[in-house]
């Protein structure tokens, strides 16, 4: 089976003033279809940078990112927009719900972009809102929703066009413990129901319980990749060390 995402020797450097900072120093990674993968690492380790590369939100300085064996650097602006719209769902730490739109309008927007009629989009949007447990809050504006509810809207929005991949950047970073756990459970359930590949950058250890594989990033490189079976041991060790 071919991998749904393949990262090949990717480096990325930023210019901070006159200093050049290398955020990624050559990363190779293969992600399988339907997998729930967590990218773990301390802040500044380059995990968000890697995450942005995978999502086609940023271009690598060198190396290649393949999605379904297609080099995304080869895609033109339209194809890239199509990919973002139809095949990848994004979830962010700061929710990034469009503030001026209601919950339902936020969810229907990507479906409108995908060419769906307004009625069909509204119908599907309501169904998605029910699936994330917010069926009765469709006409609420983001500022009338709690953080957890906003993140639920974001998850529903990410699923709007039935994407193949969901990218979640610190989805629980701005949420309290219980809400964070609810969001993680929701993500896991939806990914299993739909067979979506979930890739999340995080430093939330709660995420480990549901992950099939965990990629540890340290200092711009992959430190180690662990399967779920190996995990409990290393978490124990971290618990002792910290």
């Amino acid at each position: 089976m071919s991998s749904v995402v393949r990262v090949s020797n990717v480096t990325k450097s930023f210019k901070l003033g006159k200093i050049e900072v290398q955020a990624l120093k050559g990363v190779d990674l293969q992600i399988d279809r339907g997998e729930y993968l967590s990218i773990m690492g301390p802040s500044g380790s380059g995990k968000s940078t890697l995450f942005n590369m995978i999502g086609g939100l940023d271009k690598p300085s060198s190396g290649k990112v393949f999605i379904d064996e297609v080099d995304i650097a080869q895609l033109d602006a339209y194809e890239l927009a199509w990919l973002r719209c139809r095949k990848i769902g994004y979830i962010f730490q700061t929710f990034n719900i469009i503030q001026v739109m209601t919950a339902l309008e936020n969810i229907t927007l990507p479906m409108i972009f995908a060419g769906m009629t307004n009625d069909a989009a509204v119908q599907k949007g309501m169904k998605l809102l029910e699936q994330v447990g917010l069926g009765d809050r469709h006409s609420h504006k983001p500022f009338e929703l709690s953080g957890g509810q906003q993140q639920r809207v974001a998850i529903a929005r990410a699923l709007a066009n039935d994407p193949a991949i969901i990218l979640a950047d610190e989805p629980t970073g701005n949420l309290d413990l219980t809400t964070g756990e609810e969001i993680i459970t929701l993500l896991k359930r939806l990914s299993q129901q739909r067979g979506v590949t979930v890739i999340s950058a995080t430093h939330d250890f709660k995420m480990l319980n549901v992950s099939d594989r965990v990629v540890w990033i340290r200092d711009g490189r992959i430190d180690k990749i662990e399967n779920r079976e190996e995990l409990s041991i290393s978490i124990g060790r971290i618990g002792v060390r910290e």
């Binding site: 749904v4 940023d58 409108i112 060419g115 739909r194």
Partner: protein, 231 residues
């Protein structure tokens, strides 16, 4: 999603359907709601335009009034105009705006344009995150550009129309006070309407021109850059 991700990507050679779309009606709806939500801010952005356009409209309609008085052929009205300070030759059949008037109008429009660019740059900066999010959802550069142009267009049209109306009303009242009711009755509605339409058009043009640069900056932004901005 069992099959390949790209299998339903329309082929380049026969790409009849567009990859991502934003119907025009929907764009108008989004732009309109966006203005309503930020009503106070939109009002301030539009206010300088209202003032500049009303000044333009005031000057034009005042000239219309004077022209109407001249066109009536009445010697008495002509005398009134000369007494009021209009520089009329014995053969003059119409009043044109003086160079000084034109200069002041030009200046006021220029100041207004700078004000619009300034206000729109700030408005766009405030919305970087929203723009980044939209791009992550698949919005093309031109969707963003279109939304901002539509918003500016609506603001420009409403602001200019209001300004033109205010200017015209004040010009007519001013004419009535200076020259009396008989003088104001000489001006035709068509002329006033034409002056107001011209002023509205210029105002709309200024509004669109002012948003062009900020909107281009916003539209060309990479999603990541846009999201990196702190809210």
């Amino acid at each position: 999603m069992k099959e390949g991700i790209f299998q339903d990507l329309p082929n380049k050679s026969n790409r009849v359907q567009r990859l991502v779309v934003l119907p025009f009606g929907k764009s108008v709806e989004i732009a309109y709601k966006s203005i309503l939500v930020r009503f106070f801010r939109s009002l301030i952005t539009t206010l300088s335009l209202v003032l500049a356009v009303s000044f333009l409209s005031f000057t034009d309609v005042s000239n219309d009034v004077a022209n109407g008085m001249l066109a009536s052929g009445s010697a008495e009205l002509r005398q009134t105009l000369v007494r009021a300070g209009y520089d009329l030759g014995p053969e003059a059949t119409n009043v044109a705006s003086s160079p000084k008037q034109r200069w002041i109008i030009l200046l006021s429009l220029l100041v207004c344009a700078v004000g619009i660019v300034n206000a729109q740059l700030m408005a766009v900066t405030e919305r970087f995150r929203e723009i980044g999010t939209m791009k992550c959802l698949g919005a093309l550069d031109r969707f963003v550009l279109r939304l901002f142009m539509l918003e500016a267009g609506m603001q420009g049209l409403a602001g200019s129309a209001a300004g033109a109306l205010v200017g015209a009303v004040f010009a007519l009242i001013g004419g009535w006070i200076r020259f009396g009711g008989a003088a104001v009755r000489q001006v035709t509605l068509t002329e006033v309407m034409a002056s107001m339409a011209a002023a509205t058009g210029i105002g709309l043009g200024l509004s669109l021109l002012g948003v062009l640069y900020p909107a281009l900056v916003a539209a060309r932004m990479q999603p990541v850059e846009a999201m990196r901005v702190e809210p």
